[in-house]
């Protein structure tokens, strides 16, 4: 692992629009220098998840420091686990964050921008459960 590089972030949603919009939002807050790759929607643009797209995003997001993966609901997690279990992104050190997608992505992106490592970025995403909005 190269400690001078930031972990990448992959955003998995059943909706391509959600994943892409959230990636843009997270980049706006975190600034340049963080790799955030959206992987939304099923094959042929349907709502759903696409293991091949997720695997491609994992490889694209990895610069050697690993990748934190965030997902929206239910079966997105199953899809990601299947990708990892099947070795479709072999060689990528990927960890799943148990976090609300939007808040987790913002927290993860900013933490990656501050030089956080893979554990720090995942932890920042998971701390999103503890920050009240109101």
């Amino acid at each position: 692992m190269d400690d001078t590089r930031s972990p990448g972030i992959v955003l998995v949603s059943h909706s391509a629009a959600i994943a892409e919009g959230l990636a843009a939002m997270a980049r706006e807050v975190a600034g340049d220098g963080v790799t955030i790759v959206p992987a939304g929607g099923g094959p042929e643009g349907t709502l759903g998840t696409d293991g091949g797209r997720v695997a491609g995003a994992l490889v694209e997001a990895d610069s050697g420091a690993g990748v934190v993966v965030l997902a929206d609901i239910g079966s997105a997690i199953l899809s990601i686990r299947a990708v990892l279990a099947d070795g479709m992104a072999d060689g990528v050190d990927a960890v799943l964050a148990d976090a609300p997608l939007v808040e987790g992505a913002i927290a993860a992106a900013v933490t990656a921008a501050t030089g956080g490592d893979l554990d720090a970025v995942r932890s920042a995403a998971e701390e999103a459960w503890d920050v009240r909005k109101l």
């Binding site: 939002m25 706006e28 807050v29 975190a30 600034g31 808040e103 913002i106 927290a107 900013v110 933490t111 921008a113 501050t114 030089g115 701390e127 999103a128 920050v131 009240r132 909005k133």
Partner: protein, 91 residues
């Protein structure tokens, strides 16, 4: 103004029209993260760890309002100077 041997506090007015949202909030957090000191931002009744983007966003601090910056720890004095300068010059 110093409040203890290693704690510092300063009131800073955010520039008019610059709410502490998205990009400005990200800048603040990235700056705060560079220090060992703990950095706290207070806006009205709310307090935020300035190293937590979600807490900073939840402050809802608006342009033209006063926020209070508190730092404590080894490099608290430098953190106070740099971060208060950054807050006052956000665009």
């Amino acid at each position: 103004m110093s409040v203890s041997s290693n704690g510092h506090v300063r009131t800073v007015r955010l520039p008019d029209g610059v709410d502490l949202h998205a990009r400005p909030a990200g800048k603040l957090v990235r700056a705060a993260a560079a220090y060992d000191a703990s950095v706290t931002l207070i806006a009205g009744e709310r307090r935020a760890d300035a190293k937590s983007i979600l807490q900073v966003l939840a402050l809802g601090a608006t342009g033209g309002s006063d926020v209070v910056l508190e730092t404590s720890g080894a490099d608290a004095s430098e953190a106070l100077d740099v971060i208060s300068g950054l807050l006052a010059s956000l665009a």
